[in-house]
Symmetry: C2
Subunit: 341 residues, 2 copies
DNA sequence: ATGAAAGCGCTAACAT
DNA sequence: ATGTTAGCGCTTTCAT
């Protein structure tokens, strides 16, 4: 057992030292109005003298709030957490909370044990709200939290008619733009690398690919589409090799993530194809400044900063019970042209 | 305000429904001994019927513990979090806690504001202990926590005489082994890439480099040593370019991290050097299965799994106030030979 | 503007 | 084995 050391000063001792009532001390530490300036100073001095720190458990119990929110990564494969997409989201969420008194707690949920433990933690009132990243279609966590009445915001959605509040990028539109760009460049044999199909985001990006082809009256061939197991570089490599075997005349590839795209580039070069001369490549861009796409290719940029900010805004609104205009927000992507393919 | 919805059943209601006293219900949910099996079942049924979940704030307040520990990343540059070294540690720590009732909370401390907020969170009793990653020499956080009497375990140390409990790899020894191996291979003009010198780990690794040279009676030349700003690949690239400019006859490089080593490889190849024929490279290995060193080179492997496990063990011991044999643990590294350089 | 007092829901010590 | 009770330290009315 750890916790606050015995002998930790309490609000009551502060009150005694300052010669005021408990209520007054409470008002001071909560910066509530209606305290004379001289009293406030006296209390503050007592606080400093004693090194008083509020007991958060007591505050939670009496105040019915935790002043904390959880950002949950529900991914059995924890290494995904190192992916730029997630680190950027974490950064954006952290930034959005920096001016609030709310403590951000990142948590991993990799197994049913951990899921159970987290639900008890959250339902137990240790957080006021939950942000969910990387949710797979069959994940029960969002519903468990919703049923418990906990304010919850997801990054992405599990399906087309999602009940939980979410923020998503316009994956379909972004993919459509990308493939339309490839078509405009004269490409016709365009391969598509989706991510894992149990994630709606992968379905959307593939749908965008199809829609672009259909609009241009180009035949959609299933043999040009490969759904990977995940969004990793290695996955991109394997899929590309497969694609090249099936379609030696491949002249473009649309990849559903930038790590996939990196794998595509590697595999293409190994196979002796020039990029973008022989094969043009476009991927979604997770916008990680430290690991720029190399070489710079045209990418579909997701507004990660805005996604994180929006998630926080929606969550705080739900926590305040204030009216929310939209419970579903879909943010536009941007096609960043960086080649002449 | 969020938190447990109004109308959430309390322990008292469970007791009433089950027709027992509060104490008994408490015993049941805490799996305490001394409850008849039939009573236990009756209580359990009431719990299920009501969908009761314990209020963790009340439990903390009465029980003087939080059943949670924080794993803190104190790095102004949050992107570091994506580095394999950290994701592996997070995984190992998560694994070590998976069979305990303790919830793991990851937190970012990037600024003074966040440091302050976290200290209040921790001192406020929301966690029973703190694990610290990526601590820089002048970081005041460890002392703030120690002064507050919070069980704390650091990954690495801030200096040679660290007061806070820590777990570290044998950086000096590992570096010595690496450089000794290079010398045994006949290399004499060996460059050294340290990390940021405000981190003790970087100093140790450079010391190991020096010691190996001294033991072999090879002159230590300052011009062969470059301290980077951080442990990133980009940093490794720049440093290597500098090294090559100063020493065209460079025949080996010792890098203080695997990401640095990756940068070294890139820069060497760009400069037309063959690896390991012209220049042998050895780096510390953060052992990330998903991003293997490419090409496989000899590396100094740190026992990350064991580091994480040990940190957790020490922390739990400190939390239990049970006697701890060592407050400082230094784990051996292993030289993994993968080339003929 | 400030003090007093009633809980918040639980654990743990003490009875029985 | 189980019921009873006294807090844990705070927020929040309600008086004054």
């Amino acid at each position: 057992m750890g916790r606050q050391r015995p002998g930790t000063p309490t609000l009551e001792e502060v009150a005694a030292l300052a010669g005021v009532g408990r209520g007054t001390v409470s008002r001071v530490i909560n910066k509530a109005a209606g305290v004379r300036d001289s009293t406030r100073r006296a209390v503050q001095q007592a606080i400093d003298e004693l090194g008083y720190v509020p007991n958060l458990a007591a505050r939670s119990l009496a105040g019915h709030r935790a002043d904390a929110v959880a950002l949950v990564m529900t991914e059995p494969d924890w290494r995904q957490f190192g992916e730029p997409f997630f680190t950027e989201i974490v950064r954006a969420v952290g930034d959005a909370l920096t001016d609030t008194p709310v403590q951000l707690l990142l948590t991993l949920v990799r197994s049913d044990t951990e899921r159970q433990r987290f639900v008890e933690y959250a339902r137990g009132g240790r957080v006021d709200g939950v942000l969910l990243m990387s949710v797979h279609a069959q994940d029960p966590l969002p519903d468990m939290l919703a049923k418990a009445g906990l304010p919850t915001v997801m990054l992405g959605r599990r399906s087309g008619d999602e009940s939980v509040t979410y923020v998503d990028a316009d994956n379909t539109g972004g993919a459509r733009d990308a493939v339309t760009h490839l078509l405009a460049g004269g490409r016709r044999t365009i391969g598509a690398l989706g991510g894992p199909l149990d994630m709606y985001v992968a379905q959307c990006r593939l749908r965008g690919y199809r829609e672009a082809l259909e609009r241009a009256d180009v035949e959609v061939r299933d043999s040009l589409i490969v759904a990977g197991e995940d969004f990793t570089e290695e996955s991109g490599r394997r899929a590309t090799a497969e694609l090249l075997a099936r379609h030696p005349d491949l002249d473009a590839v649309f990849a559903a993530s930038d790590t996939l795209a990196a794998g595509v580039l590697g595999a293409l070069r190994e196979a002796g194809r020039r990029v973008p001369e022989d094969v043009a490549v476009i991927g979604f861009d997770d916008f990680h400044p430290a690991r720029p796409m190399e070489p710079p290719l045209t990418t579909v940029r997701q507004p990660l900063e805005e996604i994180g900010r929006t998630m926080v805004r929606l969550l705080l609104e739900e926590m305040e019970d204030s009216p929310v205009a939209w419970r579903h927000v879909i943010l536009r992507t941007e096609l960043v042209l960086r080649d002449s393919a």
